[in-house]
Amino acid sequence: MRLLNWLSAVFFIGFIFTADTTAYALFEAGVDSYNIDFGFMNIGEVRELQEKGSYHNEINCRSDTGQAWYLKIQAVEPLTSGDDRIPYEDFKWAVIEVIDGDGVIYNKDMYNVFSDTPFLVYTSGPSDYTGAEVKVRFKYSLSIPRNQAAGNYRAVIRYTMTEVP
């Protein structure tokens, strides 16, 4: 009877140990705000979006896989209203800062023209593989060309996070 109790205790501890050994990889990305809205703009106007002081929104990335990862940005399509389009060169993004990351920031503090090709923003550094949250902060700029037709212009911005193969 004592042996049975002992065996069931071992089984129970073993079960707990097995249940606790399931490890999940942390590979996470998110955005702090849905809102990228230039609002009403006049022809010829240039507007910067940086509502949170120096930046407008923040992409949060986390990984504990021990592998290098990177973040890219693109505009899937130019700002479009019906058949009218605002050219890509009038629509720009910039990385202002990266919080809690020790990787490489590309073109920091510089405005870059949006493109449908993903543009490299950030490559992780050694301390970015251990599960700490890396916050990449962006601001945006839009200028309305002189001959642009009025309308509701819309576009899709995509942030991509992947490891290298």
Binding site: E28, G30, D32, S63, V76, T162
Partner: protein, 271 residues
């Protein structure tokens, strides 16, 4: 009375905390694993599983899953091209189920990725499965509004060890001066049919054959796709006195033998 006021204030504070502070992330999600290796023999089927978790504090996440081909860019990152664009494309062999779904906050969904490798396949095939979530369109009049999409990729590596051919060579090994520093550059050509990750060291010796520097090459083990060439660069770890040097590069790329190359160069005084 005072106590009940305090309790009220506490709940107002709690309400503000939950609805404003916890709203810090509009949405976020986790993809596990970010890299999936499937060892499959030609003519076989194999499945892998990817777990998507909605780690947002509130709001369901609508995820779309799709696959693309991968290529390397000179900066070491990848571009994502339509399926069938590369010789190493997994293409139509790959099936994702389900490919569109909702996940409540804190919830998760397991997605099955199945590859059906044809009998004539040899070596390695590569691609990425993306999981993408979009914010909803806002419908304000006469305004320029953007929809935000976040996508996280799981790199898919389908390899058959039985048919893998490891073969590589140096196209070029050189040392160039850049901003008063020396940079070692080696172009490695993958002649095999499988992704290789060459890594190793470059020893720099002076004209008396004394090793003055040992530098790591490709420590992150970045890959080179089959039948492509990639330039691996690294800065020398310190300054070099004027003189003639020999750089010897030795790389392990997964084959039985190592890949070796060398080049001599002159170090000159800084400008």
């Amino acid at each position: 009375m005072k106590k009940s006021k305090m309790i009220k204030l506490f709940f107002i504070f709690l309400f503000c905390f939950v609805f404003f502070i916890s709203d810090a992330a509009a949405f976020q999600f986790n993809v596990d694993p970010p890299k999936l290796i499937l060892n499959v023999k030609p003519g076989e089927k194999k499945s892998g599983y990817i777990r998507i978790t909605n780690t947002s504090a509130k709001g369901a996440t609508h995820i779309k899953a799709y696959s693309l081909d991968l290529i390397y860019l000179p900066d070491g990152s990848n571009d994502f091209v339509p399926l069938g664009s590369t010789p190493w494309s997994i293409g139509s062999w790959l099936k994702i189920n389900p490919d569109e779904f909702d996940i409540p906050p804190g919830g998760e969904k397991t997605v099955r990725v199945q590859v059906d490798v044809p009998p004539e396949a040899k070596g390695g095939y590569y691609g990425v499965v993306f999981f993408e979530n979009y914010s909803p369109y806002s419908a304000k009049k006469n305004q320029s509004t953007l929809t935000i999409g976040v996508r996280i990729g799981t790199i898919i590596l389908v390899e058959s060890a039985d048919t893998a051919v490891y073969e590589a060579r140096f196209d070029a090994v050189s040392v160039v001066k850049k901003d008063n520093n020396y940079q070692l550059q080696c172009a490695v050509q993958n002649l095999g049919n499988i992704l290789i990750r060459p890594f190793g060291t470059a020893q720099i010796s002076d004209d008396k054959n004394n090793v003055v520097q040992t530098n790591k090459i490709n420590p992150n083990k970045e890959g080179i796709f089959p039948r492509t060439t990639r330039k691996l660069s690294m800065n020398c770890s310190g300054p070099l006195k004027e003189g003639r040097y020999l750089a010897r590069v030795l790389l392990d790329y997964g084959a039985d033998t190592l890949l070796g190359g060398q080049t001599s160069f002159n170090a000159t005084a800084n400008e």
